[in-house]
Amino acid sequence: MPQKGYVEISIEGCKGCNLCVISCPTDCLVLNTSDTNSFGLHYATLADEDKCIACLNCAVVCPDAAITVYRKIKSA
């Protein structure tokens, strides 16, 4: 289970620009270069969900608004 949060990246919505990957402070995203979406483009994916801190950096820089971010609800 992710520690603090996780992201979902739309495979079809991603254009493989890599800007989210380089904006992530914890290096948990990678560009999947072994597969392509239906547009023939590589897409970014969450490689290590334990490292995601739900900081939103990737969602802020994603030009195509392809990223959804979830944060762990703090238990009271």
Binding site: N18, L19, P63
Partner: protein
Amino acid sequence: MKEGYELIYQRPKTLTDTRMHYCPGCFHSTMHKLMMEVVEEMDLQENTIGVCPVGCSVFAYEYMNIDVQEAAHGRAAAVATGIKRIHPDKLVFSYQGDGDLAAIGTAETIHACNRGENFTFIFINNGIYGMTGGQMAPTTLVGQKTSTSPYGREPAKVGLPLKMAEIVSRFGRVAYVERVSCNTAANARKAKKAVRKAFEYQLQKLGTTFIEVASNCPSQWKCTPEESLDWIKDHVLPYFPLGVFKEPEKKEK
């Protein structure tokens, strides 16, 4: 959604589901997204009218889920003037590239700013004509190679790059001018805040608001999206510095 987690960010409803045609990593898309997030957060989807240009963003009306009027090349400021004067209580913006706003449309831009027309300019300055094949723009940097300046821009022949934010900040009826970028997550957050401020000042009827975006064009700059961020940091921002050039509360710099 996994159990025990909450949604903290998703694509704004003010963007349509249509896939944007922009090249990978192009800030046209980033700015569409940030602007539409602001429209959503201000709950103005039903009360916003955009005016879009000729250039790569000519199809912006397909992506922004608001009312949009398409203008002839360079004439967005004149069209936005008319719309805002008829609908003074709507939020009105023009969205223009540098070829549109600072070349063919310079007269419309300057006079709308001088009159203090109460709408917001979103000026996407990528230093080149993206759509038509990477020709030199008035904002192309000195020495920058384009298809019409193959040896680099030569000031002795074509002058120095136009600093539109600095120029329009000199007009008495212009209320707010800021230059932003999306080259880092921090700067993209600032860009969104600037759009929000501009829209709020407009609703307060303070005069013209003008946001210049130090944008990119990986395709015509002939580089990757990542390399375009380096070009912005190393070459664009030293000549086109980010920051507020004029703001209602603060006096102009």
